[in-house]
Symmetry: C2
């Protein structure tokens, strides 16, 4: 126990849940917002900006990279992180497909 039974769910359900999960941490929300708000792409000003250790930030960046919503390109001795616009929009679209399902309310909900 303690491990999710992914095999009993559909790929779609697992995929959607993985996307939601990746965004389910305030540090990762903050990282995305910070990257978005800088005109230039950002590397590890994040360590100064958020109050988390370098190792922790790096770990969160890895999570975000894993779902593809950001990408990092080597820029000299630092790494420039930025939003992958295409993925950003695609993920939003996937969420909206989910949320745009028609919700049929019947009786029991006042």
């Amino acid at each position: 126990m303690g491990l999710t039974k992914t095999e009993i769910f559909t790929d779609g359900q697992n995929r959607l849940a993985a996307l939601f999960k990746a965004l389910g941490h305030p540090a990762r929300i903050a990282i995305l917002q910070y990257i978005i708000n800088q005109k230039a792409c950002i590397c590890n000003d994040l360590v100064d900006e958020l109050g988390l250790a370098q190792a922790t930030i790096s770990q969160h960046l890895k999570e975000l990279k894993r779902i593809g919503i950001i990408q990092g390109t080597i820029e000299g001795k630092s790494v420039c992180y930025c939003i992958d616009e295409k993925l950003w929009k695609q993920i939003q679209a996937e969420f909206n497909v989910f949320f745009n399902q028609e919700v049929k309310v019947t009786g029991c909900c006042p």
Copy 2:
């Protein structure tokens, strides 16, 4: 360690992350989809439908109730769960506010 440092993030960041997190499990996605697809609201056909124990389903339902996206009304000896349409749309809207931020791409992303 092992506990999220919520105090260093804004309320908005914590709120958004909490919403994402609540949806970040395939069982909870499946539960929402199942409730939506039934014309009538549902109680614990979920236990038969998904391959999870009753205690586990009940736990997931609690998580979903916590963010308000579903509500349960007592119906005799069973409980009828349904989507809270208002919250459903509100949460979608909160996600879209986040995703509709303008992503400024600059240089480093090819």
